[in-house]
Symmetry: C2
Subunit: 333 residues, 2 copies
């Protein structure tokens, strides 16, 4: 049998976020580093706007860490766009080795896990993870252009317009910081959901699988963590996850939440089942969760980004939705 | 400054390939493990056929290594399809943690580099890299469906229908094997090419950049290697690479070749500038290059997969083509 989890020691040296209008008007609006209320970030296309968000978020994270691009050994990045052009074009200006990822909305945790592994084993002194999504680019790629005005079913989620960037390095002695200590990569699971407007249901079994394997391997329970936070299961998927875990013998308490629930006001902002997208867990982690480690409010959490790995074509071809959930244990030290 | 290259010690325990009709009729045809002359692999869509090729190649590699899926710590996989559905669906049956990648045609070297790093640092005892492309799926996604019968310009390359799978682990004492010893991840480069039918020209500067950085950092020259083999620069891009390197003071000799040149008979098979696609470098490495380490014919090579990171949308939006080239030094030991 293979090892069950990965032991790591990688501190988050800096993190930054850039978001659009709707995110800036949500409950976490004040916390994000950068915002463009036009959602365009000075660009002519939604796809280029998404790339520009990544560029700005990464630049801001570098500035916060007082580092230059050449100080990094590698950059792990991805997004939802076909051929991940948000990352490929957005990060083109930087002189850093580039590892392109596609994990759908799980990309944030996937990138952090890879960057943390490269840092922990000494392959790189420092590495970065960057990821993004853009509502208007995602809608026209996955569903219909926003001009079409399509009706959204109650289980639909709202793709976050946002980019998050993280710079990881060795933990520094004598400084309170967030350190990635353990990771469990996800196994792709598919349990018969083929409704692209109910991604929470498609992703919940993947999150369940990763969590159960992690609790079992580490001999811990949900109560051992200050917070267990999933990426974008939203309201529907989050409830399903708690139900699924109950059947496995794990009771999720008030310490469970989801980035897709945190980022918007559900009713007032009319987001149905909450936020989603590669940017969702990235900006919530960068600007809401990580500062709580510095302040001492959090000292041990499980952070899982969840991704639904279908394409518009695979849905039209009648295939179900495979999903994956990557887990990180982050500790305040 | 960040470290320039990654020191590794990961042996290729097994490799396998699955290809279509045209590849089976090329000069390497006899070497591939599996072939379906219908290019369909028993599936109803080209996309599902691509996934099935990955499944078969990975299964064959596992069998050759006498391992089960649970013996692996992780699987690094990707392809050219939107949202990388070839990998997500094709590898769904396996009970292995999944890291989705998007590096266009550089994905083979990217996956091998990540798998080799995880194995070398002990995060995983064994890991796999799997990648694929399918001519018919790629044509209808990037250009036009094959039924359209579009004319191909002379600089066009032919997307390889093929999947390659590799299983990496610690080198075994007393056995002649191919070992990945050093790696240099690529930096994304873009030099003004915006013709999606001339990807060799778009990718050559990325290969140049990685090679020059590697030669300079390791104080080696092209003459120090039995072979320097790029992924799919083809005839046009390969010549450009040699010219570019000449201006940098490096002379590529007869030890330079390209997987896209090796896989087809240029004139008889009417492939214009040669093969391309994530599957190109993967199947050539798996079935043509790696066996030469076991036989002692090769003892030290540089293997670079090159990727053009545009999307059909980014081309229509008038953007140039960014490219990346990841390098592996593979030694017979």
């Amino acid at each position: 049998m293979a090892k069950e989890w990965i032991e790591l020691a990688a501190a988050v040296l800096a993190a930054a976020s850039a978001v659009g209008k709707k995110e800036s008007e949500g409950p976490l609006g004040e916390l994000f580093d950068l915002c463009d209320k036009s959602d365009r970030f000075g660009m002519n296309t939604w796809e280029a706007a998404e790339g520009e968000m990544q560029r700005m978020a990464f630049n801001t994270a570098l500035a916060k860490a007082k580092l230059h691009d050449q100080d990094l050994g590698g950059l792990f990045a991805g997004d939802l766009l076909n051929q991940c052009v948000g990352s490929a074009y957005g990060l083109l200006d930087f002189n850093v080795p580039y590892f392109g990822l596609y994990g759908a909305c799980s990309t944030c945790a996937e990138g952090l896990m890879l960057a943390a592994t490269f840092v922990s084993c000494g392959a790189f002194d420092r590495a970065a993870a960057v990821t993004s999504s853009h509502y208007c680019a995602a809608e026209r790629q996955y569903r219909t252009p926003i001009e079409y005005g399509g009706q959204r079913p109650p289980t639909a989620q709202w793709t976050v317009t946002g980019a998050g960037a993280f710079i990881l390095g060795a933990p520094e002695a004598g400084k309170r910081q967030a350190v990635i200590r353990r990771a469990m990569p996800g196994i792709v699971r598919e349990r018969g959901i083929n409704d692209a407007n109910n991604m929470g249901a498609a992703m919940a079994p993947a999150a369940e699988d990763t969590l159960v394997r992690f609790f079992s391997a580490t001999n811990t329970t949900p109560d051992d963590y200050d917070l267990i936070v999933t990426g974008d299961l939203g309201f529907e998927g989050g409830e399903l996850l708690c139900e699924l875990l109950r059947t496995d013998g794990y009771r999720m308490g008030k310490n469970y939440t989801d980035c897709g629930r945190l980022i918007y006001r559900r009713i007032e902002q009319d987001v149905h089942c909450g936020g989603s997208g590669c940017g969702c867990s990235a900006v919530v982690l960068a600007s809401y969760l990580l500062p709580k480690f510095a302040s001492g409010e959090l000292s041990r959490i499980l952070f899982l980004s969840t991704g639904a790995m279908m394409s518009p074509d695979s849905i039209k071809q009648g295939q179900n939705i495979p999903a994956v959930a990557h887990l990180l244990e982050i500790c305040g030290e």
